[in-house]
């Protein structure tokens, strides 16, 4: 078993994982001392550097087909902490690093800190928080210890909440407060779980836990509380109420990072918890229940999105729906009769990644529309496609990915999930997937047809939109389309480090 050997020692190149975590931390500390005027320059250097590290880690794992690990301070678990990177973590890490870098390019227009002679508030906060989010995500992807993951989760929360209310309007403050309370509740529930698990197994190391874990009251209570807490942070229906106002009210670059990146952190932990820390513990009934929540999110999120009058709110509700797809992988992967495990996990991760790219592109496009028109009322978008063709093209491509049309990443993800519904004979999830796609296509079509229609009054653009912002949005949208092609290439990297027999206890 690769996971068991990974416990023994630091692997060659394991030091890369430390680098991926330290880089953003150095950036944060430097920004504090040098001041906000340098924050953007520091980020402009460190975020691409982080992407390079991510790519190197990706290549190492893809070529060697083994996971990397690093034992911090040479103290092996259970006493110490191990960082581990398997296929799931590197795939997510590279995707998030790319998205964060492009968001950084896009944000330059809004948070240029170099023009002012003194430190100003919004740029300082934005760039530091962006670096913090990239560090926290890396920590979540590599953390091999449930308590370290708790600290990383808090890091993510504290970085994300201020982004919501960066412009200081009352309604965004309200959204931020609501988000903070949900997030705090989520992390404290997660913390209860870690306490109980430590009490039962004397370790919080994920690999050690997976070897010791068994079905008993304390473990089930812990797993339930942790899962509920993480659901609240991921905004899974019906704990999604905080998300739309928070994501729709933030500045466009912040919305993009919140919707594309931040919610994936807590989702990734749910996956770690059920598929790595407690493999095979998820009962069929519980997994069906999670699936029902996911399905409700898809249907409700999409229907509410259809009824929105504002573009940013529509996109935010569509995030609620797309999060639902992520959780369909639980009933599909936990069916003990059909071990479709690997493909479903690949599908779920692809959905997370393609949603990240597509949604970031769409929020950026919406932000550009808002900047150009001074509003984002869908009914008055007429003529915008002619004024901002590249922006609306990016929006449309992102929409195609969300709908799941070939050859987009969204198509591949949903295809893998659909295949699994057939293989495991759970056709009811297939209905939800297809219905969700239809509903999505309805609102994407509404927006696009409005945008391409004639303007009700002569269109006056309030501000010129910088070309590079449009290019950043289009770049992300194209990525989301091209993601479908990974089926030909490195998709098998996701399987690296997976235990060969996920349902070990069945044997």
């Amino acid at each position: 078993m690769p996971a068991a050997t990974a416990l023994e020692a630091t692997t060659a190149d394991g030091a890369l994982l430390v680098r991926a975590i330290i880089l953003p931390v150095v950036g944060i500390l430097l920004s504090f001392v040098l001041g906000g005027r340098y924050a953007e320059r520091i980020a402009a250097f460190l975020l691409p550097a982080g992407l390079c590290v991510a790519c190197i880690v990706f290549l190492k794992i893809w070529q060697s087909e083994t996971s990397l690990s690093y034992i911090v301070g040479n103290w092996k678990p259970p006493l110490g902490i191990t960082l581990r990177a398997d296929g799931l973590s590197v795939a997510m890490m590279v995707a998030m690093a790319i998205v964060i870098c492009l968001i950084g390019v896009f944000a330059h227009a809004n948070f240029d800190s170099r023009v002012a002679s003194v430190e100003t508030r919004a740029p300082m906060v934005f760039w530091v928080m962006l670096m913090a989010i990239s560090g926290a995500m890396n920590m979540i992807f590599f953390g091999g210890d449930l308590f370290t993951l708790y600290v990383a989760l808090e890091l993510l929360t504290f970085a994300a909440v201020p982004l919501v209310c960066l412009d200081g309007r009352a309604e965004t403050l309200q959204a931020a407060l609501r988000y903070l309370l949900f997030a705090l509740l989520g992390s404290i529930l997660y913390l209860v779980g870690t306490a109980l698990l430590y009490g039962s197994y004397g370790t919080l190391d994920i690999v050690l836990m997976s070897q010791r874990v068994q079905i008993e009251p304390a473990t089930l209570a812990a797993a339930t509380l942790m899962t509920v807490g993480l659901f609240a942070k991921t905004a899974l229906f019906p704990l999604h109420l905080w998300l739309p106002p928070a994501h729709a009210g933030a500045p466009a670059a912040a919305s993009a990072v919140l919707s594309a990146v931040v919610v994936k952190g807590s989702f990734f932990l749910v996956v770690r918890l059920w598929f790595d820390a407690m493999p095979g513990l998820l009962s069929v009934a519980a997994s069906q229940f999670i699936g029902v929540l996911g399905a409700s999110a898809i249907i409700c999120g999409n229907i509410v999105a259809l009824r929105q009058k504002r573009l940013k709110l529509l996109i935010a509700y569509s995030t609620v729906a797309q999060i639902g797809y992520l959780f369909l992988m639980f009933p599909l992967a936990a069916d003990p009769l059909h071990l479709q495990y690997g493909d479903v996990l690949t599908g779920g991760m692809l959905q997370a990644i393609s949603h990240a790219t597509a949604k970031a592109a769409m929020f950026m496009a919406a932000g550009l529309v808002y900047a150009a028109l001074g509003h984002d009322q869908i009914s008055e978008l007429g003529g915008i496609a002619r004024a901002l063709p590249m922006t609306m093209f990016a929006f449309g491509l992102g929409g195609l990915c969300l709908i799941g049309l070939p050859p987009t990443g969204g198509f591949l993800a949903k295809w893998l999930l659909l295949e699994a519904t057939i293989a495991t004979e759970q056709w009811w999830w297939a209905i939800v997937i297809v219905a969700g796609g239809l509903l999505t296509s309805a609102y994407v079509f509404i927006v696009l047809s409005r945008a391409m229609g004639p303007p009700s009054a002569p269109l006056i653009l309030r501000a010129a939109v910088p070309k590079y912002q449009e290019v950043a949005a289009l770049g992300l949208a194209l990525l989301s389309v091209l993601l479908g092609l990974v089926a030909l290439g490195p998709i098998d990297v996701l399987q690296v480090g997976r235990p060969e027999a996920p349902m070990a206890w069945l044997r």
Partner: protein, 110 residues
Amino acid sequence: MNAATLFGLCGAALVGIGLYGLITNPEPLRKILAFNLLGSGVFLLFGIIARRAAAAGLGGDPVPQAMVITAIVVAFAATAMAIALVQRLGDETGQASISSDSSETGEEKS
């Protein structure tokens, strides 16, 4: 029933009480207070887990104790942030509440 179990039940009850306050109290400030109560209940759980694992001449397992110290500081930081948010919201709107429907306020804006 030994002392660890007794304090463990106390922690469990505090988690329940704090959760109740967090859900039912409409005032943000009281919600924050309830969150702290809930947190301290959780910390007590760590405490009894440490206590009942006493060995090697120590009164308790130091690992969960260290985790609690980290968690207490994080909870304080969270409280500070939440309170600053409530106060700014109070300054902006003249009232401190998170109960109004924000999707509507969102529409009013533009």
